[in-house]
């Protein structure tokens, strides 16, 4: 799963995840595959990140402290620099109703937890290949 595009700029991913273990797994997975990961640990930090330069993709949990992922997503889509940015949502399998809401708000895809790391990686790569 190592990155073979040595000369290409590394895609930047904003990971919004409060769970220590999930955050570690995803960060490890993405960094080992050639992505640069910036992590926000809650909805408040995620909203602050919206003031910065947009990354290439956002990978965000729905259940977050302070502001949930749906609220962050709605705010993100209101910003012109972020409105076409690929957003991949993470959601618990038992809360599949959230998926419909996330897709309505402009999420591009979703992954349910517990997840297959290979699936997350495949979806991230697919979204990054898609023309904006």
């Amino acid at each position: 799963m190592e990155n073979d595009g040595v000369n290409q700029p590394q895609p930047r991913i904003l990971l919004v995840e409060d769970d220590e273990h999930i955050g570690f797994i995803l960060r490890f997975l993405l960094e080992r595959n050639g992505f640069v990961v910036d992590q926000a640990l809650d909805g408040r930090q995620a909203l602050q990140k919206l003031q910065e330069t947009p990354p290439d993709l956002v990978l965000m949990d729905i259940m977050l402290p302070y502001h949930d992922g749906l609220e962050v997503l709605a705010q993100l889509r209101r910003l012109p620099e972020w409105d076409t940015l690929p957003v991949l949502m993470l959601t618990a399998k038992a809360r599949e109703a959230d998926i419909v809401r996330a897709l309505d708000l402009g999420a591009d895809d979703y992954v349910t937890k517990p997840f297959q790391p290979e699936e997350v990686l495949a979806r991230v790569r697919r979204l990054l290949r898609k023309p904006a």
Binding site: M1, D19, H21, I22, F24, I25, F28, L29, R32, K113, P114, F115, Q116, P117, E118, E119
Partner: protein, 374 residues
Amino acid sequence: MSFAALDPVLRFALLAALGLATISLLVMVQVLLLSQLGARRERRRERFDARWRPLLVAESLGLAADSETLPALAKRRECDWLLRLWNQVQFHLRGPAHARLNTMLCTLGLDRHALALLSRRDMRGQLTALSSLRHLGDSAYWPAIKPLVEAPGAVISLAAAEALVAIDPVRAMRRILPMAMRRRDWSRNRIDLACLHAGRDAVTQPLVDLLREPLPPWARARLLELLRHAEPRALAPWARGILERPLPEQAPARTGEHADAEARPGLERIAALRVLAALHDPADHDRILASLRDPLGAARLAAIEALRAQVMASDADALLRMLSDRNWAVRQAAADALVSMPGLDPVALSAMADAVYDRYGREAMQRALSERAR
């Protein structure tokens, strides 16, 4: 003046004060030592997690070196820590990553450590072990887990039940569901989750068998709630049998403000109507229509929901009558059913709403129409 020359009472008071001061000092030293030891253990644990977590994650992603090169686990405490960390990582994974972590655990011999933890009297250790064996899901662990389902505490017994479900859902449900009818301390949510994990095929037959058993009212209510996890076709004969019985003359009076909701009569009719709603069999249409006359509001509501699943144009009159029902929820459900009827355009529905004589029914129709227009 020497100590011996002091008044005996004063001497006693001095000795008591000295003794108390010494005891206080000793307690303070003990607290200090224990907190230092705790902090040191915590730091050691953090260093252990920082060393092992990348190894576990790399292993789960198939990026790790050979398991034989993993650091050795020096003490039993380190085995406990690794097992907990392994569970925390494993909890979030599925598919090949999950399988790779299972292989790693067995390679390290921690499956045997988990089995040894089951026989310890430490509840935290038992829970960690049950969680680990649940992730491993191997039938070889069944005999070791089975006795713990009978444990007096709900925490351990439910964790054991969940582990059995992960190993063999059909066999587990045959054992667990009858127990759920005896163990009031088992929470309904956990039983629901176990049924969801086990799947419809595993829960249907045990639930059908339990319907024939004499059960106390609380257990009967629990059983009726669980029927939604079963295959409706298997429950249809029971549901039809319930609805064939003559309806009571009037709704049962509440026996008091704190009357046991689980003992409420009519729950069987409601559960039977939910089964028919899930079944969608037109052969049940007349049975459902007859239940619109049930004296119990919740049963009339369930009948409307069941009718909605197979509503026909000829049902419009029956639903219009329900718009003047004394129960608010029934009126709203009737309005929703009318609005969602196939073949009725908004003009016809508006005319229908205007023609409703009952003011509350008319409001229900207007609310349903405005929601449909949104």
